[in-house]
Amino acid sequence: MQDQSPILEVDRLNTTFHRNGRPLPALRDVSFSVARGEVLGLVGESGSGKSVTLRSIIGLARRYGEVTGQILWQGRDLLPMPDRALRQVQGREIAMIFQEPMTSLNPLLTVGLQLEETLQSHTDLPRAARRDRAVEMLDLVGIPSAAQRLKDYPHQFSGGMRQRVMIAIALAANPKLLLADEPTTALDVTIQAQILDLILRLADEMDMGVVLVTHDLGVVAQTCDNVAVMYAGRIVEQGPVRDVLREPRHPYTVGLMRSVPENLPPRTPLYSVPGTPPGLDALPPGCAFAPRCAACIQPCQQDRPGLSLIADGRQVACFNPVTKAEGNAA
């Protein structure tokens, strides 16, 4: 169970990239917090800012864009931190796993070497202990005959096994927070179930917070404690998974849930939110979702709704949120 005090507090995070001299607002006023042992889901469609959020937290985005706001990690702000100090946090205290394990593992080095490299730079373990720890980690993530497999190269592993290796490397230094960017999107459902179970079990055993980025609402429903729904660089709704999925209040969340073909008469038309998400260089002046929204009212056109508390732990950024009755009828 989770400890109430947050280890990570993100406050009004703004990330802006520049293209041809024009600013592209990738993230606007993103605020959330993660406690130890908590699994937070970030969900949204491509381009909504889920991955940029993770990259901004771990300090990968600041090389290419402008990141402002506050990222409080155990009380320290990561944003003004110089690169050298940030490297003490990256990988050691906060670890990240990516969607495509083949491109994030070095194809020329054995898996054992890559694991030991991580241990060498992030722990004070002596050489022999590092090897033992490497075996222990592969064992922990469920790779059979771990000691022999240390000598294997990434291409000798299957997709699911490679993702396990990535998790083993990410968790080798005992991080307190894991940022997982679509860790199972490239995998089959059967392997996805195994990997998600593994992440949940390890989060629980190591009392680690997890931010899980995914576009699959089913994955959110099955793994997360809390969820934040993103649209055009902003969080539009957040709260406990059960409440948000059962009674979505933002029209976009409702639309997203209705697009999933579950509990529908077969071969009937699927609901789809009309229109397409706006380009980051052409965001409307008011609510970014207003042009596609059926519940759009006058203020939505001019003003941007902020996230406001509507119930215990639930926040929605909408002037005209969906009520329970409408949600069910929709």
Partner: protein
């Protein structure tokens, strides 16, 4: 109910060639056994869903059907004609009548041709319309897949993923096919865009009377669009039947495990899934007997030695399992 296509005992083996070690030891080269005796019928106007894990042979089956791979054994009959028979291969009309759409619209559309050129090429290659009528037909096709008319003059990279899949659909429909093979057509798209493309496909099927083979790994989606579903494991159909029946009460232990691995939208359903241990064995090194016995919780001696045949099971479609009766009696 007319059967448009009969696939009978289709085998496909990809030889890997003999390595130096194979020559030294005098053993034959290794072979990937991609399809191992697939038999199924496609019925006029239906959508047949094909599901399975990656590497199980679903895409290989799709590619065999459009003659991209000639099978090692077995036959595909289209309206009673063997499509791989000598003279049939020269017959281009099969290529026109059975069209394939691919997963990745980035690599299946020529990046240097405009949408208009892509569609016009399909029309002129198969001589669908006399030259002067082609522009009008291109406009009609764009309307059919709900793309704006100015799309004609744009290149594939100017479109979003969903729009590109619409171009791929328009190109397939240009030649007025009877059968569409959709290989992971919407897998790369976001859910809301996915919904639009699926709706389009359902509408077109209804209006044009198309028969669709829908290969996908998204089980919810396959359940939604299909009339019947085939579950494939290591190049063999392990269960086939009516979509709703199969999804609500799968009979084969593999179908049961596969379906329960799909994450439900209901957070209260957590943890009640049957988790499948291990991974798909390599098709280079097929297990003896039932290919699923290494991962099956119900496996017994007979499963290790004898391959179960696909046989009708009461209340379901056809199931290939020695223990189907006991397994489903307990349930």
């Amino acid at each position: 109910m007319t059967t448009v296509m009969q696939i009978r005992d289709l085998h496909l083996r990809f030889p890997l060639g003999r390595s130096l070690m194979d020559h030294v030891k005098g053993r034959p080269g290794r072979v990937v056994q991609a399809l191992n005796g697939v038999s199924l019928d496609l019925i006029q106007g239906e959508t047949l869903g094909v599901v399975g894990e990656s590497g199980c042979g679903k895409s290989t089956l799709a590619r065999c059907i459009v003659r991209l791979y000639p099978p090692s054994e077995g036959s595909i009959l289209f309206e009673g004609q063997d499509v791989f028979a000598g003279d049939a291969r020269a017959d281009r009309s099969y290529n026109r009548r059975v069209q394939m759409m691919f997963q990745d619209p980035y690599s299946s559309l020529n990046p240097r041709m405009t949408t208009g050129q892509i569609l016009a090429e399909a029309l002129s290659v198969h001589q669908m319309r006399p030259e002067p009528e082609i522009p009008a037909r291109v406009s009609e096709l764009l309307e059919l897949v709900r793309l704006p008319q100015d799309a004609q003059h744009r290149l594939p990279h100017e479109f979003s993923g969903g729009q590109r899949q619409r171009i791929a659909i328009a190109r397939a429909l240009a030649v007025e096919p009877e059968v569409l093979i959709a290989d992971e057509l919407v897998s790369a798209l976001d859910v809301s865009v996915q919904a639009q493309v699926v709706n389009l496909l359902l509408d077109l099927q209804r209006d044009l009377g198309l028969t669709i083979l829908f290969v996908a790994h998204d089980l919810r989606l396959v359940r939604h669009v299909s009339n019947r579903v085939a579950v494939i494991y290591l190049g063999r159909i392990v269960e086939i039947g009516d979509s709703e029946t199969l999804f609500s009460a799968p009979a084969h232990p593999y179908s049961q495990a596969l379906l329960s691995a799909a994450p439900s939208l209901n957070p209260d359903n957590r943890g009640n899934a049957t988790r499948l241990e291990g991974e798909l064995p390599s098709p280079l090194n097929m297990p003896s007997g039932c290919p699923f016995h290494v991962r099956c919780p119900h496996a017994s001696d007979i499963c290790k030695s004898t391959i179960p045949a696909l046989t009708p099971f009461e209340g379901c479609g056809e199931v290939a399992c020695h223990h189907v009766e006991e397994i489903n009696a307990h349930a």
